[in-house]
């Protein structure tokens, strides 16, 4: 078991290293000269030369990669090309906003979907299970930005219950903040609930098919007692693992939802910085999002290994 965990850790570290190389390489091969892009067509050769010197562009790519990585590890993310602002200071509030939204969605979604999953597993192939199975096909298929737009058209444009865009987060009033973030939260909710319910149901049904459950049934235990006492505790591993996977998705895939709601989060910052070709910002936002994705994936893997029932083989 320890072996498996070290293996997963090793792959995560490897993935982190690969990530930094990919992020650096992808932004370095951008067409055109960065110094030229900043100064424009009329720049004098002297100006270009001094700016290249300043940005360290005359060093070899490998050298630049390691100095960039060193800076990243020590918290020096450089300065934005567009606004000249410190990247770390630019990113901090954006990251907080993204995490706040993800946390809000997770706090609502996780208990809700686990509960729904348990109900579906308790009544497999009965009406409620079938209804949810069909509904989940629909929800899983529709991309999150379309879900977001549908929610906006109903709850913001028609009913006027919630705001359609979130330009600034109102931190001073927590209650109105919850209302303000309602539509983006619901959008994220839709995209993760269907996954989690299906997987919770599958994990629980897996456990419920074991001989000791039949034994409990023959002893005359009630359905819910069997599920809560014998089923659920043994299905915790896969369920926790799915939850962690979805949290990773929440923090790394929110860019589309953030753009729909003009939400000032990390994902939209990255999309904006790509359109402005703001290299330090692209690198930093991409690294942080990949980092969070990899960490949550690692947690999911480790949970799956830790809670794996004895004797079962790992996929």
């Amino acid at each position: 078991m320890l072996n498996l965990i070290t293996r997963r850790l090793f792959f995560a570290l490897l993935a982190l290293f690969a990530t930094s190389v990919i992020v650096f390489a992808a932004t370095e091969v951008l067409p055109g000269d960065v110094a030229q892009a900043i100064l424009g067509q009329e720049a004098t050769p002297e100006l270009l030369k001094s700016l290249r010197q300043e940005l360290g562009l005359n060093r070899s790519p490998v050298e630049r990669y390691f100095s960039w990585l060193g800076g990243f590890v020590t918290g020096d993310l450089g300065h934005s090309l567009a606004s000249k602002a410190d990247v770390l200071q630019t990113i901090k509030p954006r990251l907080a906003n993204t995490l706040a939204l993800a946390a809000y969605a997770a706090i609502v979604a996780v208990p809700l979907s686990v509960l729904l999953g348990i109900i579906c597993a308790a009544y497999p192939n009965r009406l409620i299970d079938r209804i949810f199975s069909v509904v989940s096909v629909f929800i899983v298929s529709i991309p999150e930005f379309v879900v977001g737009l549908l929610l906006v058209s109903v709850f913001a444009v028609q009913l006027r219950w919630f705001p359609a865009v979130v330009v600034r987060l109102n931190w001073s009033e927590p209650l109105s903040l919850l209302v303000q973030l309602m539509l983006p939260m619901l959008t994220l909710l839709c995209t993760i609930v269907a996954h989690t319910v299906r997987m919770t149901r599958a994990a629980l049904l897996d456990v419920l098919s074991m001989p000791y459950i039949e034994m409990a049934l023959l002893k005359g235990m009630s359905r819910w007692r069997i599920i809560l006492r014998h089923g659920l505790p043994n299905a915790i591993g896969p369920i926790a693992s799915v939850v962690a996977l979805n949290l990773g998705y929440l923090v790394s895939g929110v860019a589309l939802v953030e753009v729909v709601f003009a939400y000032p989060g990390l994902g939209r910052l990255m999309v904006d910085s790509i359109s402005y070709r703001d290299l330090p910002l692209i690198q930093a936002t991409a690294m942080i999002m990949c980092l969070m994705f990899i960490i949550f994936n690692l947690i999911a893997d480790i949970l799956a290994v830790l809670f794996k029932p004895r004797g079962a083989s790992v996929r």
């Binding site: 690969a18 990530t19 067409p31 790394s252 895939g253």
Partner: protein, 284 residues
Amino acid sequence: MTSSIQSTGTHGAGRNVPLLPAIGLTVVALVVLGAIFAPLLVSNQPADLVDSAYAPPGSTLLGTDVLGRDLFSRLLFGARLTLLVAFGSTTIGFALGCLWGLAAAELGGWFDDLTDWIVNIVLAFPPLMLGLLLVSALAPSLAILIGALAAIQLPRVVRVARAIGQNVSSLQFVEVARARGEGLFSVLYREILPNILRPLAAEYGLRVTYATLFISGLSFLGLGIQPPDADWGGLVRENMSAMQIGSMLPVLAPACAIGVFAVAMNLVIDWIDESTFERQMSND
């Protein structure tokens, strides 16, 4: 042998397709036909200005878009671009991925280990990030978008093809074929491929759906297909301002096109192979 044997499950012959997959198949067929025959079906060219901006339906079937172009016409031509990227990239990624994955399963050894490593590392990368980085590094032309999407699909296909191949290649008739002296490609093509067509077909459908959603998302972010051309995601993006004047149709029509097509595809896939769909839900 006897006619009294009943088919179990939903995977019967084509003539008794259940209701939901039948609806899915019909919708997919209509969308594909609409895309192919788009030039014959529209009365206005997608780039022509025909009316004022955001004119309601009337002279044109769905009204007009942000610049006063025929929305229905743009929707059909948008379907062409969306499907071209989705099917094009999936076909390339799928062909290469299947070959790679099946070869890894059949050859084993260091090649298989290396494949496992590469796939594990790339899959640890959030796909949207990979897409964003690829298009930010290379200018978003149609060919580059198709290539980038094929590359993103590749490791997923390799993993699935490898797993399926491993299951089949340990079966007896494959061992026999190998003992008979059949070469790698002969074993892959004649022994393994015929036995894995159903899960592979489902996987192909799944990847097409994934590519559709992915290119729509990229274009919605403004980083996919560039104006004046627009795929479905691009249409949503360019008509977003319609919402401010309370007119939802120019935004919802392309948005719903994406959703309806994806739902229809998944209904069909779920019918072809249920386990494939379950897997999509677990690792998307």
